[in-house]
Symmetry: C2
Subunit: 254 residues, 2 copies
DNA sequence: TGGTAACTTAGGTCTAACCATTAGGCCAAT
DNA sequence: ATTGGCCTAATGGTTAGACCTAAGTTACCA
């Protein structure tokens, strides 16, 4: 119909609307709760009202309330416990949530092991630099404990690899940058999972790793940021070359 | 009681059990579907059976089936559409899932803007280095288009900032490392959100940014990895200093 | 030919009930 | 004093069935 038409009907074009999106009820509740959690309105560990209480308060059905809670649980914003003293308890997302997402990305997108190692080469020297600047005595002690575990000749391969991961994560944590440490925790687990059954971790590699960790830890102890970044760069780069030596193709991780 | 005791009762410590976890029905189904999606058993875009079909196939209730689907949806593994041709369609997690988790982490953990900028300083020079090595002509064209948009004097601040983000993300994508580009996409959005209403983006900063992007793009075009990493390092570092100039304290992002 | 009404199929929401898990208290048997 | 049996209460987990809403498909009629 024409805009200038003056027929028997009023001009319906006088009012124009754009496509609107109608949110789902469970999303509305999830969004509301998420905002209030993220802004810190509820302290960590606070218990949300019981499901049936949320039903009466929101006038939504229990199905809808439960879907909202499930969303928040998957996002790592609440932890749900069953039983008498159960309920939904507030928590802030942490390394777990980050590691979970990174793992899904890696597996779903078939991220090459080479890309994982590349990413670590990008992040970790910087972590070492920050760690050298900001490390506390306690964090230094954790680093040295991990080194002791790795040097223990009676340790088997899984123990060695676990202590290896622990050391790397400890360096990241000592950077006092929670984003970096979250990333490194996720990355380290993924690299660990991808290399644990490789045969390349021979005695020579183990000794080289122990020595590298020791010298980097020294730099962090002395708060020598330049040495820390330089040595870490060399360490992760040579480790990456070692892993990829016999493994030149684009092998995915899953 | 002692382990060597030989009294009238048998030694109860002979059997030791660890705490056991009993999975929920919805988790069982979600895990099953997640594995099959991640291993690529279903091509991207494939439609899962309708909810009511999953009910008959699994003998679970519709509520349980829906909870499982909701879990996968939040994890970015399926996309759910209503209506006649609706249903759950397989997708692999991508930048959105990563960006969403990073944002939750940043907001919930009150990550300082300084930490965001630090993290970018760690990642982005490496992206530039890889981009210089691997960039395709098409990716180069995207970089130059973003530069053109930013140089357009008639562009307002939001357009400038958006083109800025686009350029940075394009550099990351040109690295051909999906993990890095996912991280940078998430980071860029967060930094954009944290700085968009800052007043510091004056004419001088805009010109400096345009110039820096141009020289970095040159290095990527010429596949000069050393120059690319050096210039990017300088660019993001000076940008960070500019942002934090009047803003020395540990301001969080939320 | 064009529009619109009716149908169909999918997800979204609600209700009501029952099951399962956990904490705590009480008490009888040993 | 310890152990196991038993009950109660509170909470999340699960089920069944109905109805609502969104969005393609089809058929029909002016």
């Amino acid at each position: 119909m024409s805009l200038t038409e003056s027929g028997s009907r009023p001009d319906r074009s006088a009012i124009q609307l754009s496509p609107m999106k109608v949110p789902k009820a469970s999303d509305v509740l999830a969004n509301e709760l998420r905002e209030r959690i993220l802004t810190g309105e509820f302290a960590e560990g606070t218990g949300l009202p019981a499901e049936r209480d949320l039903v009466t308060q929101t006038r939504m059905s229990r199905t809808t309330v439960r879907e909202a809670l499930r969303i928040l649980e998957v996002q790592g914003l609440i932890r749900i416990k069953a039983g008498r003293t159960g309920g939904a308890f507030v928590q802030q997302p942490g390394e777990e949530a980050m590691a979970s997402t990174v793992n899904l990305l890696i597996r779903g997108r078939r991220i090459r092991l080479a890309a994982l190692l590349e990413t670590r080469e990008a992040i970790e020297p910087f972590c070492a630099q920050l760690a050298a600047t900001h490390r506390t005595p306690e964090e230094l002690e954790i680093l040295e404990e991990a080194n002791r575990l790795m040097s223990n000749d009676s340790a088997d391969l899984p123990q060695f690899l676990q202590a290896n991961v622990d050391w790397h994560v400890a360096v990241a944590r000592a950077s006092h940058n929670e984003l970096l440490s979250g990333l490194m925790a996720a990355l380290s687990r993924a690299i660990y999972a991808a290399t644990e059954d490789e045969k390349f971790v021979d005695v020579e590699v183990r000794h080289a790793t122990i020595h590298a960790h020791a010298t980097i830890t020294d730099a962090i102890r002395e708060q020598d940021a330049d040495a820390a970044v330089r040595r870490m760069k060399r360490h992760v780069h040579s480790y990456a070359e070692e892993v990829l030596k016999g493994d030149r193709q684009q092998i995915d991780v899953s």
